[in-house]
Symmetry: C2
Subunit: 426 residues, 2 copies
């Protein structure tokens, strides 16, 4: 028998990780393993290793200081460099002393949720949302996530009204609501939230007197016309900055997810003290902190690297979107992030299924794509999508692999008799 608190966690282990490792174990290769798996399920940016790897190879080896105990919420040198970067990115003053370096964005989300919530208390999250939020925000803290359902009719754009409604309903149902958590830019949609929407959202959050957790891990992964606006930008957040807690990390923007380095920024002194105490349990290796201190040491290199990253990301997205259009596969337009949000609702199998069982059909299609076409993309249910049939496809890998995956998906839905299902959907 294990504890109730850990049994809950085992039951909740996200399917995302499992699909990733199965697909990675037998990868596609045009010659060596033409029937192998194509992993477009994981939001990994594989477009930047030539730039990052070269820089990493230049960094000096660890010093004696590296070997020693260091402040467990992050070395001052690293926090100062991150603060300087995020001050520019967020157009908001980020103080190094308000930053907690911690084991990945997961660690930062776990920390802020644990600080704000006791078990059973509620965090409202606009949905569809990053599926691992359930584990990251709720797994250890015991917080309950309540989705604020966005509408498929406008491509799941964020609205303050949807959040207001979810907050009101959760309270009416007797829940203690502590926070709203937001991905900005959004994941899986890839929306860059407009300043007006963010301002409206902050108004709602303030009206309900709850904190805002803003996960801006894709802050530099913006390739559309609309520039990124942080929820900490005084232009949209003139009076709720102390109740707004920022999460960021090196996994996406620097394409180094294996190094598991994230930060939490907060201006609330009580939250900061508690987050530092939690960082004690999930600190980042000093050797890895040195790597990032070295990477950020040259602001000119960083600026050039991030600009090139955005350029490559935009090209990768346009390549994927063009292929999808050519194969007659609809998707919501993205302006940021590593993925496209694909609408395969027209091909959900089984007219025998009543409409309410749409998510069962979505799972069947997902399983078929994985087992038959050997393509790993993630079903909308993993993101609490309000409507069945949507899938997240990550395009940030070799363009030939993306082309092969989209070809297989198109072949699966167009050529295996699923087209005739189209007419059967309500």
């Amino acid at each position: 028998m294990i504890s109730r608190q850990s049994a809950r966690l085992v039951a909740d282990t996200p399917a995302i990780a499992d699909a990733h490792f199965r697909a990675e174990a037998e990868p596609y290769h045009p010659r060596l393993r033409p029937g192998g798996y194509l992993n477009l399920g994981t939001a990994e940016n594989r477009l930047l290793w030539d730039l990052v790897g070269a820089r990493l190879a230049e960094l000096p080896p660890p010093t004696e200081q590296t070997a020693r105990y260091a402040p467990l919420h992050g070395a001052p040198a690293l926090r100062e460099r991150i603060a300087a970067l995020l001050t520019k990115t967020c157009r908001a003053p980020i103080d190094a002393d308000e930053l907690v370096v911690i084991s990945g964005a997961t660690g930062a989300l776990d920390a802020i949720a644990t600080v704000l919530c006791d078990p059973g208390e509620v965090i409202v999250v606009p949905a569809p949302y990053y599926g691992a939020f359930d584990t990251d925000l709720g797994g250890r803290s015991g917080a309950t996530l309540v989705p604020a359902l966005l509408s498929a009719d406008d491509g799941f754009r964020l609205t303050a009204k949807a959040v207001d409604r979810a907050l009101t309903e959760a309270r009416r149902a007797g829940s203690v609501v502590r926070a709203v958590a937001l991905s900005s830019p959004s994941n899986p949609i890839g929306e860059v939230h407009p300043p007006g929407v963010l301002a409206d959202l902050l108004h709602v959050v303030r009206e309900h007197d709850v904190d805002l957790v803003t996960d801006e891990i894709y802050a530099h992964a913006v390739f559309g016309d609309r520039p990124f606006t942080s929820a900490l930008d005084p232009a949209v957040n003139p009076d709720w900055a102390e109740r707004t807690h920022l999460v960021w990390g090196f996994a996406k923007d620097f394409a180094l997810p294996g190094l598991k380095t994230g930060v939490l920024h907060t201006r609330r002194p009580d939250v900061l003290a508690a987050a530092r105490a939690l960082a004690y349990f999930a600190p980042v290796s000093t050797a890895t902190q040195d790597v990032f201190t070295g990477l950020l040491d040259d602001p000119a290199w960083v600026a050039g690297f991030l600009a090139e990253g955005r350029r490559r990301l935009g090209a990768s997205y346009r390549h994927a979107a063009d292929l999808l259009r050519r194969h007659d596969l609809p998707h919501a337009p993205a302006e940021a992030g590593f993925s496209v949000w694909l609408d395969l609702g027209a091909w959900l199998p089984g007219p025998e299924q009543p409409a309410a069982d749409g998510f069962a059909a979505e799972e069947r299609l997902w399983r078929d794509l994985f087992e038959t076409a050997h393509v790993s993309i993630l079903p909308g249910a993993a993101f609490h999508s309000p409507r069945p049939g949507w899938f997240r496809l990550c395009h940030t890998l070799d363009a030939a692999l993306v082309a092969e995956a989209i070809r297989r998906i198109a072949a699966h839905v167009h050529d295996t008799g699923l087209d005739h299902e189209k007419g059967n959907r309500p």
Copy 2:
């Protein structure tokens, strides 16, 4: 307002960390800062950097594989190498699939306590014990630590009887007891537990039907005549191995505490699954895992390094013990670890204090040593010592610094009028 679960943690932040950073901020230097602090409070091994640093400098830079997502409970290559090392150390079969790599021994202790206990459930710990156990085992899990008091009369040697008594009393008081946690070799005493005592302890643990957590982070730090015996060794543990969970890490034996890399070994499948789920929140950077995979890659180097480590550790201990004897400062003899357990009970200030206030007097002496003599050692109260007046002094740094620190302690107690207190103690 922050959550109750995190408020509890902030209140419990260990004093050890604070003293460390204050002392490190103004370190003693014979010429540049002769009045500076001598930090003998932190169990850091500073005797091995010439060997470790040279090896680290030889390791190759991170590869593209390093940059990517990896299993969050540790890369197979690292787990296999750790398993091979610990199989020899523990004289017990350690399977790589039964290992969870996690953020330091702290992460491993937090994970096993969270898996075994719900909030309010009890872990019995022979005392004096490593002070951070309170945070590591109880801080996030909510488990309550109950000391099994060992006797000052035989130098706080471990006895199964003391553990039996504490288990029986805790149950009589209505507690749900889940486990016994042990430091082996012990910290702060530096005892290498004899096989007979371990066998007796395992008998008691089995009789009470609780799990054993054995923290063997000092397994290779043995310099006395008695060889190390793991609680997993079939010779002492023929039938309770599935309920025995091992914690180990690279902080002590490899003198790399900054790299925050630990492991939990367990043969209970339900515990293993839950510990893996918890490692999701505190994984080790792949770059740092690569460092340790590289370090362990050459078993001959490792064996030579560990042997040299034991040799230097023994010399360092004998140097400190000799100085203490020459200065007439009594201590319990050690066979392992980085510290000596110093008995300053004869010099506790204040005959005006009743005996019950001995710990207040201990704290005054600790504060005086820190503020006046600028020597940081840790008071026994931080280790739940059953009797006031004991202090942990770590000797694993430059011999000249150890000599200066012992000289200052001796001068403080002998020359500042404390000697006359000796006769006043009961």
